[in-house]
Symmetry: C2
Subunit: 427 residues, 2 copies
Amino acid sequence: MDSQEIKDTILAMGAKARMAAHDLAVLDSGQKNDILRAMANGLREQSAAILEANTKDIAAGEENGLTSAMLDRLRLDDARLEAIAVGIEEVADLPDPVGEVMDEWTRPNDICIQQVRVPIGVIGIIYESRPNVTSDAAVLCLKSGNATILRGGSEAIHSNKAIAHALQSGGQSAGLPDSAIQLIPFTDRESVSVMSGMDQWLDVIIPRGGKGLIETVVSLARMPVIKHYDGICHTYIDKDADVEMAVAIADDAKTHKPGVCNAMETLLVHNQIANDFLPKIATVFTEKGVEMRGDSKALEILGDAAVVASDEDWDTEYLDLIVAIKVVSGMKEAIDHINTHSSRHSECIVTADSNRAESFITRVDSACVFHNASTRFSDGGEFGFGAEIGISTDKLHARGPMALRELTSYQYRIRGNGQIRSLHATT
Amino acid sequence: MDSQEIKDTILAMGAKARMAAHDLAVLDSGQKNDILRAMANGLREQSAAILEANTKDIAAGEENGLTSAMLDRLRLDDARLEAIAVGIEEVADLPDPVGEVMDEWTRPNDICIQQVRVPIGVIGIIYESRPNVTSDAAVLCLKSGNATILRGGSEAIHSNKAIAHALQSGGQSAGLPDSAIQLIPFTDRESVSVMSGMDQWLDVIIPRGGKGLIETVVSLARMPVIKHYDGICHTYIDKDADVEMAVAIADDAKTHKPGVCNAMETLLVHNQIANDFLPKIATVFTEKGVEMRGDSKALEILGDAAVVASDEDWDTEYLDLIVAIKVVSGMKEAIDHINTHSSRHSECIVTADSNRAESFITRVDSACVFHNASTRFSDGGEFGFGAEIGISTDKLHARGPMALRELTSYQYRIRGNGQIRSLHATT
């Protein structure tokens, strides 16, 4: 395929998605939920074809030397496919954000103004190897009334095509508008730049993947980008912390699932509690094989149990059993450290003093700030959102766990009885 | 100044703005309002210096052949300066959006989650010739707890510097943090690209000006851009409209203030009411000197009173006493026309049938949709917001009239009593 064909194909998909978005915007919740359940059944009915396509991707992946972790992310089987189908049915059961009246008031001239949630329109999703994203992203967007254009990674192209086909044909049997869910059927790199440039058709673009992918989209995109960058999350143990609670929270934040964005990377400890707290958490960390990298004050207490932290450590998302530890002279130093080094994702203060907790919370410039609870709760499911499309590290539109509501925009609906500004202005 | 100096200067301003933003985020409403009132007084006290600076800009503008309209936009006098100062005091009197609890709930594991409005952080504003924007933008951003970096047009550079100085020195007497309001003291074109690239310091950038400026910022910016594009606004007269009301609304939308973005550009008329309605509105428009450009069906009714519309007319923001008129075969054609040609700003349906009005409202993909009221009410002041920074034609973050609330982000504040995910997960 040459450049012009790639461009023409994707632009045509954009125009069709816009038409589909207009149809989707007026579907009621019952219709959308019927479509979602039919999509889940479509996946089940076409499971043989999907697994066969997946076998091709796995074979190609093995040939191209993908790591076993990458192959595992790529691999589908009956259980994983059933989990995807059940996930769709769970989304069908969630409340529909579209149509929710966010605010409503009447002006002195009797004009009534409503602010109502509406779909965003057309959402572009660019993702890497996991084929389940094809379903997860399309399904959340559909529930919130949006059309999607999906561009998955080359490793999963056969699986993605088979999944998209199953969703489309299943959904269409229940009234899914044509072109509501479209997968770009090729994976040329150029497709990313074409998508990033077509702001006449895409209302927002969401890159799901590594920093390199996000950076590429950010530098090319003309439309808004919702970014899900790293989580360099901090836990700060204040001087008045309950030490047992502090150990439990720091342990959970670091070791419960170290490879995820809401895991702790840096532990900050008030110097008045460091002598009590640090040896206790060190015992836990040593037992669990966590490498500790401390500043000079931490090393005075931890001795040989820790190694020295470099400047780089304070800005590193380890995603591993490694933790950076710093002893601070007070809460202000902790806050300044966080506001300088954090990725603004999730932070925690452990303290028995709720005034100090409030002071910390209002001064820390991150999406989620926890008092006496593990940063591992920074998650759409744990927040009660039912499903999430990711954790936004942006500050505009969506911040923190991003679910159905964050996939909507709003519209002002203004009702009058003949008011004109030349006669009825209020300002 | 060479490129490197420009870049270094602006990046240094960015770093200082970030520090100031942290200080601003914890000011309470009383402190911010005191600062705002002191800023208003600063303007009054330094009025002589501001007017002297403005004289230089006017002289340079005359020399450079600015039109009289442009010179008028640039010109300040005692009355205009006092209006700016009063405007600041009005913003001080508005409610503070920061700290508002948007949502609050408790999870089954007793974790309490609050969603609280917080400032965005650092806002970059790039604008053209009007020097009052220096104050308006800085003041709205300050009230909402944000630091600003302002980059005004070269025509107004002396006025802008004098106004910024007055705001800063007035505000500092009441505790305005250093670098909370910064004006880039030069107007090299390069400053726009440096600002657009520094996403480490600017959380959002707002271009206020013509399409060319917005396009430039959109193509360069790495951070979110809030755009205020054209208003190609439509009024649709449905078959069951009250004709007298329809004439009044169409007249107001077109002629009350034709040079603004919420004025009507295209009038759509149901064919069952066209014979009754069009001659009546034509009488008004002819009397007021409005040029009518009709499609073939409109011309059949309007005869010589109108000229023929070209394809281009349906996509034009006249900002003038010109209107495009199309007779449609039904509401669906009106909606399709709007969703194809509108700039998604503001549209209106005039009808006595509220079911048809609801159908129109939910199908039209624009920020503001009016039933039986003029699109001229699409305005922050008329919505009761007190002040506006513009009308967003974006769908993410802020849509439609954009005021203090739209200059905020939010933060999740999560309070527990020792919950850890390995023991207390709810999903």
